[in-house]
């Protein structure tokens, strides 16, 4: 823009300064919150650092972290995308692993992982087909599959129980100082990092940010949305395995409870519910933050009731903060 004929065509005069403001990644506030909570945890509970309290916390938090991550791709894909079924789907997979497969002699760790993830992808494909191909509103489509998955899980296993094969149970243990669940998270992180390098990522962001632009530019919007749900399902499969390990069995009633917390985790993690902005790092940080709040409050022995209030407050404050921040970011011209 050397010549400017109309003020509508403002030249960018100080691009450097502007880029810096715009370049603060979306997950920074979530990480700040997370670090703050870790510090508070460490201060309040000396055992958190010294007595390996952090290990237990991490293991217990791992299903929530993974499910908050699982919630992310459908939200990113936009169009009101959300996957209410991640909780029940993880719960159902946990029931399948501990209640159906393991008792029938399928104890090979690799096979269990594979089946869990495959089942998760199948569940995700159902959601994806409903949302992307049949164009049912995501909230309703996944609400319906929520009911179906949750119902099937309790049908298969009316009361908690099941067998946990050693390869899965090991996930709740530690290797040296490091909880084994961390390896799962790192594994997911590496896969995600690889995904970021593919074109799928930028397709996903474009579809979530402006599906009309993406469509006219030649992005196969339907396929991208579908794949987002399949990815979500795969991560729900991982969540199901972790859930089995953490619970030491399967409990059909536990999975569904994770759905709303996972949404909350994603929201705290800075993922915009209107799509196009966010990622797994934020979701993981958000999920971990929610768990740490619980950890602190239960350590200082406030009732679980106060905990629930705190959840609500943190959720609202976090989305308000993210909303306000986003507003300022987009305002800045």
């Amino acid at each position: 823009m050397t010549t400017v004929t109309a003020p509508a065509k403002e030249a960018t005069q100080s691009p450097r300064i502007r880029w810096n403001v715009g370049r603060i990644p979306y997950f920074v506030p979530a990480l700040v919150i997370l670090v703050g909570l870790i510090i508070i945890n460490a201060v309040v509970n000396h055992g958190f650092i010294n007595n390996q309290g952090w290990q237990e916390a991490l293991i217990a938090a791992s299903p929530l972290i993974v499910l908050a991550m699982a919630m992310t791709p459908p939200i990113l894909a936009g169009g009101g995308g959300v996957d209410l079924s991640v909780g029940p789907s993880a719960g159902l997979i946990s029931v399948l692993v501990a209640g159906e497969l393991a008792p029938r002699g399928v104890t090979n760790t690799f096979a269990l992982w594979l089946l869990a993830i495959l089942f998760g992808m199948a569940a995700g494909a159902v959601n994806g087909a409903l949302v992307a191909i049949l164009r049912v509103a995501p909230i309703i489509a996944t609400l319906a599959t929520y009911l179906v998955f949750a119902g099937l899980a309790t049908q298969l296993m009316p009361s908690p129980g099941g067998v946990v094969p050693p390869g899965i149970a090991a996930l709740s243990g530690t290797t040296g100082q490091i909880p084994n669940a961390v390896f799962v998270l790192i594994g997911l992180g590496v896969l995600w990092f690889l995904l970021l390098r593919t074109a799928f990522w930028r397709n996903l962001i474009a579809v979530g940010s402006n599906d009309r632009a993406a469509f006219t530019a030649g992005v196969p919007v339907t396929v991208v949305r579908f794949v987002a749900f399949v990815l979500s399902g795969a991560m729900a499969g991982v969540g199901g395995i972790l859930l089995t390990a953490v619970l030491g069995g399967a409990d059909a009633t536990v999975g569904p409870q994770y759905t709303l917390i996972a949404i909350a985790g994603a929201a705290v993690g800075g993922i915009s519910l209107s799509g196009g902005r966010g990622g797994l790092v934020g979701a993981a940080a958000g999920g971990a933050s929610l768990f740490l709040i619980q950890n602190i409050l239960s350590f200082v022995q406030v009732s679980s009731f106060v905990l629930q209030i705190a959840y609500g407050l943190v959720l609202i404050v976090a989305v308000l903060f993210n909303g306000g921040w986003d507003y300022l970011r987009l305002r800045r011209r």
Binding site: A144, A264, L307, G312, L315
Partner: protein, 343 residues
């Protein structure tokens, strides 16, 4: 999603008009058939249930369906309005629990029923204002906002009662939801009568008052509404306040079923209110549908449940069937526009 669907100017105005003309034909066909279906379905379903469970044709059978539908239907008032403005209200179950616990514990502490009602009314306004204002700030998604407020409400009531949610339920509430209950000398339980009155009121408000039309306008086009002097914040506050009040009434009635109280008693209503509204055909994108449809939706939901129970289908499989029914219905008439249609 609603915002996404309608933002951004179109490539050409002239063709947009035509797109809409096209949409009008298919939209019309798409809508009126389900409209008829939605009002006849409860009746047909009732007969179907009756064939399987003849006891439903008895007076008590009929009344117990009515009572169940009444409690659900009342809780659905708020959900319908919230969905009509293009939102959703996840704090309804928590508010139901709040009212449920308060009515039992305060009665135990010898509060009079009217004063309890006054307290609940006051709390409803607070809940409505908070939900309404927060969901107006920065375009925050009402899903998250009401999720948060719901959590605070449940935690708050539990903390307030230190978890001792039990109490005494006034006998007239028990009567109100009992199929053999009477009101004004009529052999109709009070809950059904209350629902009838509320339904008429809501339908009147929807159609015959400014705020009613503004609710529809805000849902139909959130960008145009403020330009037509519809105040979005006020409208949202009203909607969520009405939602909280209706949830409170449901919560109080629910106390009559159990004779005790629990903060979690509203949990099943999280999804069943959404189900009833969606099954009725109120669109999630806002502005289309109404409480009349939800009444039908509430009946359908309760009848399906009754049928499944009658068929000795376990609770969990009931859930499965409910999910499948929602899918079948929504896939036939609740579909959204494709991207290509929005260029």
């Amino acid at each position: 999603m609603t915002q996404n669907l309608t933002t951004a100017a179109s490539v050409s105005d002239a063709t947009t008009d035509r797109d809409n003309d096209a949409g009008k034909n298919s939209g019309w066909r798409r809508w009126w058939q389900p409209t008829l279906a939605v009002y006849t379905a409860p009746v047909i379903l009732f007969v179907v249930v009756g064939i399987k469970l003849p006891s439903i044709f008895s007076k008590s059978g009929l009344l117990s369906v009515l009572v169940l539908a009444a409690v659900l239907g009342i809780a659905c008032i708020g959900q319908t309005l919230a969905i009509l403005i293009g939102g959703i209200d996840l704090s309804i179950p928590a508010t139901i629990g709040l009212a449920n616990v308060l009515v039992a514990t305060l009665t135990l502490n010898h509060w009079s029923f009217p004063s309890i009602c006054l307290v609940l009314f006051g709390l409803s306004i607070v809940i409505g204002v908070v939900n309404g204002v927060l969901s107006s700030l920065f375009n925050l998604h009402p899903l998250v906002v009401t999720l948060g407020t719901g959590s605070i409400i449940t935690g708050g009531i539990l903390e307030h009662t230190h978890g001792n949610t039990g109490g005494v339920v006034p006998h007239f509430i028990v009567d109100a939801v009992s199929p053999v209950g009477r009101s004004f000398g009529l052999p109709i339980p009070a809950s059904v009568l209350i629902w009838l009155v509320l339904a008429v009121l809501v339908l009147l408000i929807e159609r015959r008052t400014t705020i009613g039309r503004r609710i529809f306008a805000l849902g139909a086009n959130p960008t145009a509404a403020p330009l037509s002097l519809v105040n979005p914040v006020v409208t949202r506050i009203v909607v969520y306040t009405v939602g909280a009040i209706s949830a409170c009434i449901s919560g109080v009635l629910l106390a009559g079923f159990s004779g005790g109280a629990s903060a979690d008693i509203g949990q099943p209503y999280l999804f069943s209110t959404i189900t009833a509204v969606v099954v009725g055909g109120t669109a999630l994108i806002g502005g289309r549908g109404g409480y009349g449809r939800t009444i039908a939706g509430a009946f359908i939901t309760i009848e399906v449940q009754t049928l499944l129970i009658g068929l000795k289908v376990g609770v969990s499989m009931q859930q499965v069937f409910l999910g499948l029914i929602i899918l079948a219905l929504v896939a036939t008439y609740g579909r959204e526009r494709s991207v290509a249609q929005r260029i």
